[in-house]
Amino acid sequence: MRAGVLLLALFAVATPAWAQKKIERKQALGMEGAFRIHNMVGSVIVHGWNKDTVLVRATLGEGDEFHMGGGYTGAKMFIESSNERNPKPTRLEIWVPARIRLWVKTATANIDVTGVTGGLDLYTVSGTIDVTGSPRELNAEAIDGDIHVTGSPPWVRVKSATGAITFRGSSADAALSTVSGAIKIEGGLFERARIETVTGNITFAGQLDRSGVFDFDTHAGTVDIAVPDKTNASFAVVTIAGKIDNRVSRTRALAGRFGRGQELTTETGGGGAKVNVRTFKGGVTIRQSP
């Protein structure tokens, strides 16, 4: 009886081990080629390496098939599901030439990319996206997935709707946008940034290049900007119905039009970086980082 219960328990596991299939495939790919990955469900882990080869290790669900093809300048892979309406997860671990242009699309599969220095285009509906390293260009989009970037990609475009975005590093040109997800930036030097939410809270604790331009826009989220002491910046803040808390200078926020909301123009370190903050009703705090 006990053995029977145990056997039943084994059969009850969602993806029994013997029904999964492990495969390994290699394909030559030029160091500056392009590679596309489609994997709707499961996970996609990508490592950049120093060889002109793509190596894929995949664990597929029963009945699913792996396809890969292309040439030295460009290749693609995808999983053909035995049940398109209810696909089983595929776990992918992939090594690619670090300098390629990589494109990944998933539905719920998480995407994790490390050490790719070329271009990244990562799209998911509700998976999470994690990027570590400094691709020369990063484009990452999710609907309800979170996106985390750790590194210094010079050019960054990151969007989520309800997912949160965290960015630890620096960038020359960054645009981050959510609807209700929080956006948190910390770390290094930024030259140009556009941070936008509808209701998500924005926290910025980076450094402002003195010739940079920074735009923070939100309807109802709070905006918290913490800058190092002796930062050279000019701040122009306006909120239609919110409040401004200025802790970097003695300038007081003035009442907005018709006595609603507030406006503030001030500078630190004699001015420099242009920081524009606009909210409809979100509160704004400008302070020195600890």
Binding site: A34, F35, R36, H38, H67, G69, G70, G71, T73, G74, A75, K76, F78, E80, R101, W103, D121, E137, N139, W155, R157
Partner: protein
């Protein structure tokens, strides 16, 4: 996307068609990707076609990409996007020259290096700089023929069609360009 469509897609350049399609659907960020990919080559062409003036070249580059955005629907994928953009660049130059005589390229004096790309660069690439200066100093017709044929690799017939002149004229301008370049570079 069906398996058939994906399999058929495998042979094509991976990221190109997707960014183009997204841009055609109105996605400005996708268009920006195309700009990042193609602006270097386009700017090089603009700079040489206008005779070395960086401001003129930047204006032309901007005109080209704005036009490219507006005409993106006409790109059918029957040639490479870069070729389509290239033809658009030459057409834009010619149309701008017709409507604005100020934009007719000036002959750059041989000793004026200030307006050329990388004028402040180290002397390690002096050899190439002399060549750029020399091309910039050519009379307009000769310069267009030389840049399109000897730098960009177009055939006489293609150039003749784009510039709306005869093949004979293209050959004559090319001959003139090479002769002038040899004279100027040998000094």
């Amino acid at each position: 996307m069906t398996r058939v469509a994906l399999v058929a897609d495998i042979a094509r350049t991976p990221e190109g068609p997707d960014a183009i399609k997204r841009a055609q659907a109105g996605d400005v960020n996708a268009f920006e990707q195309l700009y990042r990919e193609h602006s270097g080559r386009t700017y090089a062409l603009c700079l040489r076609l206008v005779g070395g003036d960086a401001n003129d070249a930047t204006e032309l580059l901007q005109d080209v990409f704005i036009r490219a955005w507006r005409k993106l629907d006409t790109f059918r994928g029957d040639s490479a996007f870069s070729s389509w953009l290239h033809r658009l660049t030459v057409n834009t130059l010619l149309e701008n020259a017709r409507t604005d005589s100020r934009r007719t390229a000036r002959v750059l004096p041989m000793d004026d290096t200030s307006r050329l790309p990388g004028a402040a660069r180290a002397s390690g690439i002096e050899l190439k700089m002399d060549m750029e200066k020399a091309i910039a100093s050519l009379p307009r017709g000769a310069r267009l023929a030389f840049v399109l044929h000897d730098v960009e690799g177009y055939q006489h017939q293609e150039i003749a069609a784009q510039l709306n002149v005869s093949v004979g004229t293209v050959k004559a301008q090319l001959h003139r360009a090479r002769r002038l370049l040899r004279e100027r570079l040998e000094k």
